[in-house]
Point group: C2
Chain length 203, copies 2
């Protein structure tokens, strides 16, 4: 099979570029929502949480003398166009993070714009490559609530392979109940941002 | 300018694919070292640390009631072909992480293979997408030692823009003195890995 013309070659090249370019978008969906203006702290924070698929979830380690212990986890705050701002997780007590949280709920979730792929050539520590740390309590969702149903849909839609993870590992749904937001999305230090502003912003 | 033949079109497409593909490699250098076999825990751990350019650095938050506070940071463990396994950082006390560490050195650095770009379509929480958490003490490097010179070369080579960061912000060099290694690079739970094995592995 040959390429017949400059036009079809241009077309093929663009298809290749587009398909490869989207590797940088979040797992399970393309990056369809443009990064908000850095002046809009609430929208930027919600964008970082809704567009990212993984972060580092931090707990107080029982095994390591109370050290802060970060762990790479997948999360979701809702279906692609129905983000809640609340990060949900699918964790097993075979892993120290869930065990730690069941003893001491103090926790934070840290997310970088760098892993969304929109920081270009900026250094990951450059303040204009946005980052957020949500601090609060990591809580197990119990019973058969509507919130568990929301968490399941949110997680399994964004992370399709989760549904097939071994039943014997007893994965359970957790959420981070946010108490404080640390956001850096530009020069000049962290942006003041209340929970009310964060939760009442439309993306 | 037109594309003259199927051969030049194929060539153009490959050039595009290769150039875009390398976006996923680490900042400041291409990904030249192949991922080790997961059975080789020490080599995999050193590969994760040497090939990545950023991670989440955790400290105990003074401001947030002793909560574990993760922060996105850039790091380096050495020049491209002279990795030490010790993560070095360039931090300012304008940021809470450095302030926390100066009060309580307990810390961890968490790194994901996902940000290197070699996990393919695997979920970031899939155990075969490797992750590592190095726990220990976060220490300020003081004086005018050889180690500061090593840290400066390691960081400024991998993160060229650091050299131009504002002098008035009083950035200083820190290192993580590792005491424990938590590595997951395959199914079956964390890989046993001693500091001796970690530091005495050639990449």
């Amino acid at each position: 099979m040959g390429i017949k013309s400059p036009v079809s070659c241009f077309f093929l090249s663009m298809v290749l570029l587009i398909s490869v370019g989207f590797q940088d978008s979040v797992q399970g969906r393309l990056l369809l929502i443009k990064k908000p203006d850095p002046d809009n702290a609430a929208a930027t924070a919600r964008w970082l949480v809704s567009q990212n698929s993984w972060g580092v979830l931090n707990t107080i380690s029982m095994d390591l003398g109370g050290a802060p212990f970060g762990n790479v986890v997948s999360f979701s705050d809702g279906l692609p166009n129905e983000s809640s701002g609340i990060p949900y997780f699918y964790l097993t007590t075979l892993d120290p993070t869930a065990r730690n949280a069941l003893k001491d709920q103090r926790s934070s979730l840290t997310i970088s714009e760098y892993s969304i792929g929109t920081c270009g050539k900026k250094d990951p520590e450059n303040p204009s490559c946005a980052k957020i740390t949500l601090t609060g309590k990591l809580k197990l969702l119990e019973g058969d609530s509507k919130e568990i149903e929301f968490a399941r849909n949110a997680l399994f839609t964004k992370h399709p392979e989760m549904e097939g993870w071994p039943k014997g590992h007893n994965f359970q749904f957790f959420k981070l109940e946010i108490e404080d937001i640390f956001l850096i999305d530009w020069f000049g230090g962290p942006k003041p941002l209340t929970l009310d502003q964060y939760f009442h912003t439309e993306l």
